[in-house]
């Protein structure tokens, strides 16, 4: 049956074998290469397996929950078990091969869930897709067992910037995530807060993003920028508002000082004070201060700690303390007001080395520099301490009980006014009004008799006036006769003309005589 040993056929088979053999065998070769490559790729992409423990597995699902870094998938949850102590869960995750480089000791895992807060909404994508596990690469030794965080870390990526520490007494509404704005731009956030070692202050760790961290310089001031800041000081009312988000959830603001050079950037983790208000932060703080105590007469109502001390209207210091003193021996109540003067605020001309600021102040006091309480604002009734020269006033010093030298005071202008009014009233009260009224009545009586006498005198005067009238009349007639048009006037006019003519001829005569004095002896020569 199988006798197909045909010569042509055999020949053809040989030809066919030669020509088709290599071509067709390429196909399995390619197939093996392709599948081999696919398998190799899949195997090589598999990275290390890590276990992460979390308090609970809310929303985590095997094979569905991803591990993402910067929203790029780097792994997948492959198993979820309860830990041996039954207190937490253990998530086993298959990481990608490139994850090996960053699975280190300080790598952080946390579950990303949607979060809604005043500061904003985050993780909205997870509403639909379910939570995923976030990862933040860190340094350290290699590790495959991790403890997941319950809340997301504040810096989800290795953002560039710097950390600083702010010191404050009152945490207020500050919390991790509180924004930090710089001229209204949100440039950072609060990372954490902790009590200082002495438990007398709160240290806030803040992060400022690049490139804004360069504005944190030596004289940079941070202040709490929480919402509306309404202040009524000696200089009237002031309203300041921060950005809307700070209005709702509080915030911190900072500003660079113009005094700083651009290269005076502060090192990481530098400490800065956090001022309670913008107002406070604007006050320049001087290292070199002089403290004095002042004793004012009268009430200091309206004077508060922090009230300005002005010299000719320019603030050069502030009130740092007001207290009340009672001297038991003398039963005297006094109000010592401690002030802090900042001599650096005054620019010096003709500086003399070796003369301390204290000496200068003493010299000024000798020249009549006195402190005086003045009303800063009529609206608020706030007082301020004004320094000015009163060369006439004496230096009145009290028994100084404080550690600071005393600065002489003088009564305020209002006080002075009240004082002089008082003395006037006192003097009025001391007047002998009884005697005075008796005297006055006597005087009035004598005045009465005098007036009577005066009356008779007036009658006499009347007659005198009548004769005077007559005299006046005749005087009038005389004057009338001298009026132009009257004969007397005409004659007078004539007389004056003749007198003029006479004077003229006398002048001719004297002239002639001057030229010919001999005519007096020889007589006028005929021409």
């Amino acid at each position: 049956m199988n006798n197909f040993t045909d010569p042509y056929d055999a020949e053809e088979v040989i030809i066919n074998r030669k020509s088709s053999l290599p071509l067709v065998w390429f196909l399995p070769l390619i197939a093996f290469i392709v599948s081999g490559w696919l398998i190799y790729k899949a195997v090589s992409e598999k990275g290390p397996v890590v276990t992460i423990s979390f308090p609970n597995a809310d929303g985590l699902e095997v094979d569905k929950t991803r591990i993402k870094y910067l929203d790029v998938e780097v792994g997948k949850v492959t198993a979820i078990n309860i830990s041996d102590d039954l207190k937490s869960i253990r998530v086993t995750a298959q990481m990608n091969s490139d994850a090996e480089t960053y699975l280190k000791q300080q790598t952080i895992f946390w579950v990303v869930r949607p979060q809604v807060g005043l500061g904003g909404v985050s993780g909205l994508g997870t509403l639909l897709s379910g939570p995923y596990i976030g990862i933040k690469p860190g340094g350290g030794h290699r590790q495959t067992r991790f403890i997941g965080l319950t809340s997301p870390p504040l810096l989800k990526s290795n953002a560039e910037g710097k950390q600083f520490i702010l010191e404050t007494n009152n945490l207020g509404s500050m919390q991790p995530g509180t924004p930090i704005n710089f001229h209204g731009i949100i440039v950072g956030e609060v990372l954490s807060h902790e009590l200082s070692a002495e438990a007398n202050a709160i240290k806030l760790k803040v992060f400022i993003n690049k490139p804004y961290e360069q504005f944190v310089r030596k004289n940079t001031r941070f202040w709490i920028d929480s919402g509306v800041d309404l202040s009524a000081g000696a200089d009237g009312f002031k309203v300041r508002t921060g950005p809307l988000i700070s209005l709702l959830s509080g915030g911190i603001a900072f500003r660079a000082s113009a005094e700083d050079a651009a290269d005076a950037v502060m090192a990481e983790n530098s400490l800065f004070p956090l001022y309670d208000t913008y107002e406070q932060s604007t006050q320049v703080f001087y290292s070199n201060t002089l403290k004095y105590v002042m004793y004012f007469n009268g009430s200091v109502r309206g004077l508060t700690e922090g009230a300005p001390v002005q010299l000719r209207g320019i603030p050069i210091g502030k009130v740092t303390g007001i207290s009340l003193e009672l001297d038991k021996k003398t039963a005297e109540i006094r109000v010592p007001v401690t002030v802090e003067l900042e001599p650096q605020r005054i620019s010096i001309v003709n500086n003399l080395p070796g003369v301390s600021d204290k000496d200068v102040v003493e010299q000024l006091i000798k020249k009549g520099l006195r402190a005086q309480l003045q009303t800063g604002s009529l609206l608020t009734g706030q007082l301020l301490v004004d320094l000015d020269f009163h060369p006439k006033s004496k230096i009145v010093l009290n028994t100084n009980t404080s550690v600071y030298p005393e600065f002489p005071t003088t009564a305020s202008s209002l006080d002075q006014f009240a004082h002089s009014a008082q003395t006037i009233l006192d003097k009025i009260a001391k007047l002998p009004l009884e005697d005075l009224s008796a005297d006055i009545s006597k005087t009035l009586q004598s005045l009465q008799s005098t007036s009577r006498t005066a009356n008779t005198m007036l009658v006499t005067a009347n007659t005198t006036l009548g004769s005077a009238d007559k005299t006046m009349n005749s005087a009038h007639q005389v004057l009338n006769s001298l009026e132009p048009g009257s004969t007397t006037h005409y004659e007078l006019d004539k007389l004056l003309q003749e007198l003029g003519q006479t004077a003229n001829s006398v002048k001719q005569l004297t002239d002639y005589l001057q030229q010919h004095p001999d005519t007096l002896i020889r007589g006028k020569k005929e021409e």
Binding site: D6, Y8, D9, V13, V24, P28, A31, F32, L128, S129
Partner: protein, 199 residues
Amino acid sequence: MTALAQGLIRCHDCGYLSQQARQPRRCPVCGSRLHIRIPNSVQHTTALLLSSYALYIPANIFPIMTVTQLGVTEQHTIMGGIIALIDKDMMPIAILVLVASILVPLLKLLGISLLLLKVRYRWQSNARLWTTMYRIIAFVGRWSMLDIFMISILVAVVDLGGVSQVIAGPASTAFAAVVVLTMFAAKSFDPRLIWDNQE
């Protein structure tokens, strides 16, 4: 009694019988090349079969499609899909997919392998049964493309951006290649070889 024994060659295309000694070896009716048997049938089939085997592995271990639904990305392998269907109490569909996507290609591969082994080692057994098996393999081949059609339709229809999206995975390409290669393998196998070995 075969045509070969009679010194006749049957044309593959039109079925015309012509003399073996005829030169050149072309069918006088349709002009196609005349062969006593499909040339290199066993070799071709073996090569195609090996390729199919090679691709059958990635077709089953890799995801055949990636479904993104409301931001959740899920990758499905063929077997994973069947398990998911069983989990969802859809047993009939699970069995259908299992048969069409796993059993049929696998049985086809095994069947062709057996046919090749029979021809190669001249196993003396019921040739009629072997031929029936060959017919079934040749017929059933195209139906394995069901999965690929399904995926291509899904990819085209379900494309709603972030809401829902289907992307064909690497396994689908491998699977399609397996189906096509087995079809070619079945075609390149000359069933007359089954009978040739028969004593």
